[in-house]
């Protein structure tokens, strides 16, 4: 029990931070917590939450995925250009785009697991390759408008809840069950803690590594699809903020950057913290670019705190 508490302390801290920020928001701008505004917050947080799903899995194995922004951007641009505003075309495009994300993730994973290219280099290279391909495809222009079905997916409500929020909850449940109650999850944590020991224990770490990058590619493509619906169109560079925000969400959620500890419940809190900050900063009169400064500071603080905690635990062990 005590073990459970200490292990989940960073996650609890992240949720406390969500509450504190919500109260701060209400104090600086009365009406901050009204339902219509909260909806907005949740929708904007969901894009970060979806990309951070992939980033969480990758970071749990001790890697990192820097190709998320351009995979996201690619999915958004291809959806809007190929669908031409047509919902039927969109219906068969979405599986193809998710598959495309999976293929990019597969290449990333194979490069990291089999060819032993460091994850930063592999995914940075892949990011640039996708960016180059996309620039060539669009010739530097924007990608057109999103079909109405996509806009519906990103902004519509079923009852009180935005559709995208239900997607987020589904992702949260599936990811949490997968991580905490399946052999897959156990192997994933083992791989992140020690590749060598896991291999002795019969875990195929290469398969684990490849699968997390595939998950990340699919998640980034999904985020691109819904983000295009939310913005109503696609344009080059729309994925850029999501590199920093995905890493920041995972870091706030208490996952260790070294791998082996953390979970998606924490990352969900991280995404909410970032969404709240993004809403509070303009109220305080700070420009949107200040958000990038906040992302950076938040990553540094979260990582310093968690490394101190792990250091202490290793000393006491």
């Amino acid at each position: 029990m005590r073990h459970l508490m200490t292990r989940n302390r960073p996650v609890v801290a992240a949720y406390v931070l969500v509450l504190v920020l919500a109260v701060v928001g209400e104090l600086v701008a009365p009406g901050f917590l009204r339902v219509s505004h909260l909806d907005q917050l949740v929708i904007e947080g969901s894009f970060t939450a979806i990309v951070a799903l992939g980033q969480t899995f990758v970071i749990l194995t001790g890697g990192v995925d820097l190709s998320i922004p351009w995979v996201l951007n690619g999915a958004a641009v291809l959806l809007t250009t190929f669908a031409h505003g047509d919902n039927v075309r969109m219906a068969w495009l979405i599986p193809l785009l998710l598959l495309g994300g999976a293929v990019i993730g597969l290449v990333n994973g194979l490069g990291v697991a089999l060819l032993r290219v460091p994850p930063i280099i592999m995914t940075l290279g892949m990011s640039t390759v996708v960016e180059g391909g996309l620039l060539l495809y669009t010739n530097g222009g924007s990608g057109g408008n999103a079909p109405t079905g996509d806009v519906y997916l990103a902004t519509h409500r079923w009852g009180p809840l935005p559709v995208i929020c239900l997607v987020w909850i589904a992702v949260l449940v599936v990811a949490t069950v997968a991580l905490s109650a399946t052999p897959f999850g156990r192997r994933l944590y083992a791989t992140g803690l020690s590749r060598r020991v896991s291999e002795f224990a019969g875990v195929n770490t290469a398969t684990m590594t490849v699968s997390v990058y595939v998950i990340s590619g699919v998640a980034a493509a999904l985020a691109g699809i819904v983000l295009a619906g939310y913005v109503g169109q696609s344009y080059l560079g729309m994925g850029d903020p999501y590199l920093f925000s995905s890493v920041a969400a995972v870091a706030i959620g208490g996952a260790s950057i070294l791998g082996g500890s953390g979970n998606y419940v924490g990352t969900t809190a991280g995404a909410l913290v970032l969404a709240l900050l993004a809403a509070i900063l303009p109220i305080l009169g700070l420009p949107q670019s200040a958000l990038e400064i906040v992302y950076g500071c938040v990553i540094l603080v979260a990582v310093s705190v968690s490394s101190g905690r792990i250091g202490r635990r290793r000393e006491s062990a």
Binding site: L115, P118, I121, G125, M126, G133, N139, P287, V303, S307
Partner: protein, 346 residues
């Protein structure tokens, strides 16, 4: 096969020296010192350059080479610092943010000689200071280099966007003209390259450089030999920050304006130039002479694409592919060399 290549990518006490006596170990080290990778990089660079020269008549004039040097100068300066960080087995993603902020400040604050000098010093100070912050977090707190520099990259990008929200601004004409001018018959950009190379050759002989190499190739051994990890790492990131700030000035000269996102597109090329030049990502092996070949390769690649009348976007795609291929080729070459070395000593 793959596994062998993989383990050889991490030459450390485990793979190269573990369990072998000290004499063969010395011999092995000698084989490793005569690294073929920088030489291979120069062959590649010369091939690219000759292709370009064949496509574009008149390339082999001093003036044309000066123009090419101007195109590659910011990248070369960035890669000098990046290479020194990579020698410690680290990586510096924040150079992109520092470069963006540097050009944004230059394009908004340089109005004449006085303000140019003052703000030039401020930009260099920001570079050194941010390098010190990176180095403190990585060296003292022991945080991962990529996460620290990813965070500081984000911070400097944000500040750059506040200083200069969109592309624009301008630098004084005299400042921008320097990079195209000549001194004593040689274009200034070529002089700058020579100064960078000379600075490296001097640095290579300093005690700090020896510590950086020692730390990168064998952290445990370096610690036992009394090398302070914290101080050495801090110095490496400070040099990288300073180089990024100088690169920002070169970039502002070259474009004669400012761009608050200029650096984002240069992070990958800075790493790619270092890796193509034969410096190992796992630290301790390589140097700036090979990196210059990497810079020449990447710079002429852009011009070759231009000469073929292809869209310039091909450069972005090619840079990414080249980086991954260079990592694989570097690992492969090293593995072959190690095996040859092992065969000759055993």
């Amino acid at each position: 096969m793959i596994d062998q290549a993989g383990s050889a990518l991490r030459p450390g006490p485990d793979s190269s020296a573990g369990g072998i006596g000290s004499l063969p170990r010395l011999a092995l080290r000698r084989v490793r010192d005569a690294d073929v990778r920088p030489a291979a990089a120069w062959v590649l660079a010369i091939v690219f350059f000759l292709i370009y020269a064949a496509l574009q008549p008149g390339t082999l004039s001093v003036g044309q080479i000066g123009t090419l040097a101007g195109d590659g100068l910011a990248l070369a300066t960035l890669a000098l610092g990046q290479g020194i960080v990579i020698l410690t087995a680290g990586i510096d993603l924040s150079v992109g943010g520092i470069l963006s902020l540097g050009t944004a400040l230059a394009a908004t604050q340089f109005h004449g000689t006085g303000s140019g000098l003052t703000w030039g010093v401020v930009i260099l100070g920001i570079g050194i200071g941010s390098g010190a912050a990176n180095g403190f977090l990585i060296g003292w707190l022991g945080l991962q280099p990529f996460i620290v520099t990813l965070a500081t990259w984000s911070i400097f990008d944000g500040i750059a966007l506040i200083v200069l929200p969109t592309q624009g601004g301008s630098v004084p004409e005299g400042f921008a003209a320097w990079i195209g001018d000549s001194t004593a018959g040689l274009p200034n950009a070529i002089w700058a390259f020579l100064v960078l190379a000379a600075a490296w050759l001097w640095f290579r002989r300093t005690r700090l450089a020896r510590r950086i190499y020692a730390l990168g190739s064998d952290p445990e051994g370096a610690k036992m030999a009394g090398v302070s990890r914290t101080r050495t790492v801090m110095a490496a990131y400070m040099i990288s920050g300073l180089c990024a700030a100088i690169a920002a000035l070169f970039y502002a000269m070259q474009t004669a304006s400012g761009d608050p996102t200029a650096g984002d597109g240069l992070i990958l090329p800075s790493v790619a130039a270092v890796v193509i030049g034969g410096t190992a990502l796992f630290g301790g092996q390589g140097g700036f002479i090979g990196t210059i070949a990497g810079v020449i390769t990447l710079t002429t690649l852009g011009d070759v694409i231009f000469a073929f009348n292809l869209p310039s976007y091909w450069t972005v795609l090619a840079d990414g592919l080249l980086l991954i291929l260079a990592v694989l080729a570097g690992g492969g070459l090293h593995a072959l060399q190690q095996r040859a070395g092992r065969r000759s000593t055993s």
